[in-house]
């Protein structure tokens, strides 16, 4: 899964490990963070597999968007504009995706039988723009079905054991149930939007 996320990010632009970690966190949320201890080995594996490769030394990280007028923004922009050779640390290793990497990405992304956990879904949906409309819909619907099933099970076991649960445990279960219900209706919205827009008008925001 980590591999998939890395490949997906590298499809957009060449990046070095440190920056990759930042993007990963941005994508997956501050929960389920990725540590260097798993990121670097993953990159190595991908390199060995020929899915990514280190590119020429000075491929500077894409300049960040023009900032607003705020003081903090300008400062950040200034920092980001540091002279190219000045790098800012130990020599970076900037990776790019290879043709094999692209193929691997497509394969991993499309693999419907893959892990169905929270993270796997998050990563897949993050790169859903690379899926066909059908596959995208399938992804959303499989996820929905999974949540519906879980919800039903949760309700069953709640009914069976509610007498054993005290206020706190009950509140916990109820809150969990509500959260799942909201997740399902969020998916419903996405599914509806998907069906409403038959042909994909790509809406990507990269500079």
């Amino acid at each position: 899964m980590l591999e998939l996320a890395i490949l997906g990010l590298l499809k957009d632009s060449e990046l070095h490990g440190y920056e990759l970690k930042r993007r990963l966190q941005e994508l997956l949320g501050p929960w389920s963070s990725v540590s260097f201890g798993s990121l670097y080995p993953a990159l190595s594996r991908l390199e060995v597999a020929g899915a990514v490769k280190a590119v020429e030394a000075e491929q500077r990280v894409a300049p960040v968007v023009p900032m607003t007028g705020s003081l903090g923004g300008e400062l950040a922009a200034f920092r980001a504009r540091r002279p190219t050779p000045g790098r800012g640390g130990r020599t970076r290793k900037v990776y790019g995706i290879t043709t094999r990497g692209e193929a691997l990405f497509d394969q991993m992304l499309g693999d419907a039988g893959g892990a169905d956990d929270e993270r796997a879904f998050t990563v897949r949906l993050s790169f859903a723009r690379y899926l066909s409309a059908d596959a995208r819909l399938g992804l959303l619907e499989r996820r929905r079905a999974l949540l519906v099933e879980r919800l039903a099970k949760a309700r069953d076991s709640f009914r069976a054991g509610r007498d054993r649960l005290d206020t706190y445990a009950r509140s916990l279960v109820e809150h969990g149930t509500e959260t799942t219900e909201r997740d399902i209706s969020w998916l419903d919205q996405l599914i509806a939007a998907e069906r409403a827009a038959p042909t994909d008008i790509s809406t990507k925001g990269t500079s």
Copy 2:
């Protein structure tokens, strides 16, 4: 964490592994399920540590036992003498919590420095009734602070990178943000309820 949950469940009633698993699932939700491969070893560890011990062979689990308290001893003795040994499978091993186990439970439950992940919080809140009013409030407030902090971080990194995110990724992040906001207000409700209810005569610190 698993250990804590096991001890907490055994505080209520003696149980065998298989049933324990069911209760665990009921408590933690169908997500983050516990497998036998981790449950049984955990039970063994607890047994070795003297926190739990196997009790008399055939304690058939009664569906729901009204906890009246009086006459309990005789009733239990009668149930234990039931002639149907091994009702429902391979010989069960019914575990009960020991005095050491109770101590361990208290220690683990109260350990504020412990793991702060989703599961740890869920388990702790499930057994919050065994905490003092103060400790309970502390638990809820630490959790709240954590979520607030994460939310702020998530918003920061979203602002920083929103131009890079497409519709799907954006929706994902937004949904995550909303979920966290709801989690926080759920906690707020619990905290409010906690402060409103003077369960202890010796409530201190408030107003």
